[in-house]
Subunit: 131 residues, 2 copies
DNA sequence: ATAGCCTCCGTACCATAGTACGGAGTCAAC
DNA sequence: GTTGACTCCGTACTATGGTACGGAGGCTAT
């Protein structure tokens, strides 16, 4: 497949794939130079789709592109200890973030209730997150 | 108190407070112009600390500064319906985000386990987030 | 064989959320 | 009554993660 298909399979834009290539997160396969069957534009395969999807998922998990680059390198080098370390650190950060979001969610949910028409006179946004 | 105290009470830097002032999120009280007791620099009070802390907490809840600006305006105008709407929308977004993070957390936790020394030969980072 | 897409490449530009800098004025304490 | 810290202000710069543009070349369906 060519870059447009790869991008759409990964749920991103072509320019984003190219950006990831510049960042070293996605490979830039050599352009077939001779008169080969595949023509002269770069071709991508299912491994590339997998890699691209990984990047998206890892972003969703809160990894930065920098960290994702490390993870992708680790996947190649099999430095299990380092991989574990990164994963564990992120699990800790995620636990904390999840707790924070849960607290915020509950606070907002309470706020929405309090702001219900007919409830108390006020809708105290500013104090919504106070303990 | 002056801006440095306000900033430290809010857990941010002086420049950040000034940035919020430029964005209209924090007030810029008038500088006392005459020879008043409070001198000629801006003074802040506990309401300002409250406001600053709200901004931080709302950011933690995933609101952008733009949205936080809206919330702060709403707090003044008492448009309860709009406030409810924003809060509800964010609760929905938070629920979704929390689910996503939870799934990522579990995936990473599994990965860390699999990457334990002595476990399987591989430490399949790239497939960690696959279903 | 030509129109109408797509690819490739470099470079520029964008939004978000700050952070830094430098000079002028202010303030408190010694 | 001066020193040293703090304030004010405008402007510039940073990092992150893209997004857009324009021209040259490649591909394909008619």
């Amino acid at each position: 497949m060519t870059i447009a298909k790869l991008a759409s399979e990964g749920g991103v834009g072509v320019e984003t794939v190219r950006y990831y290539q510049r960042r070293g997160l996605m490979p830039e396969p050599a352009r077939p130079s001779g008169a080969s069957a595949s023509g002269r534009v770069r071709r991508y395969g299912s491994d590339d789709v997998r890699r691209l999807r990984f990047i998206k998922a890892a972003q969703g998990a809160g990894f930065t592109l920098e960290e994702i680059g490390q993870l992708l390198s680790l996947d190649a080098t099999e430095d299990r200890a380092r991989a574990r370390e990164l994963a564990r650190a992120r699990v800790g950060a995620l636990d904390e973030k999840i707790r924070e979001l849960q607290a915020a969610r509950d606070a907002l949910s309470r706020l929405a209730q309090v702001c219900e028409q007919g409830a108390t006179r006020l809708c105290p946004i500013l104090t919504a997150f106070e303990p």
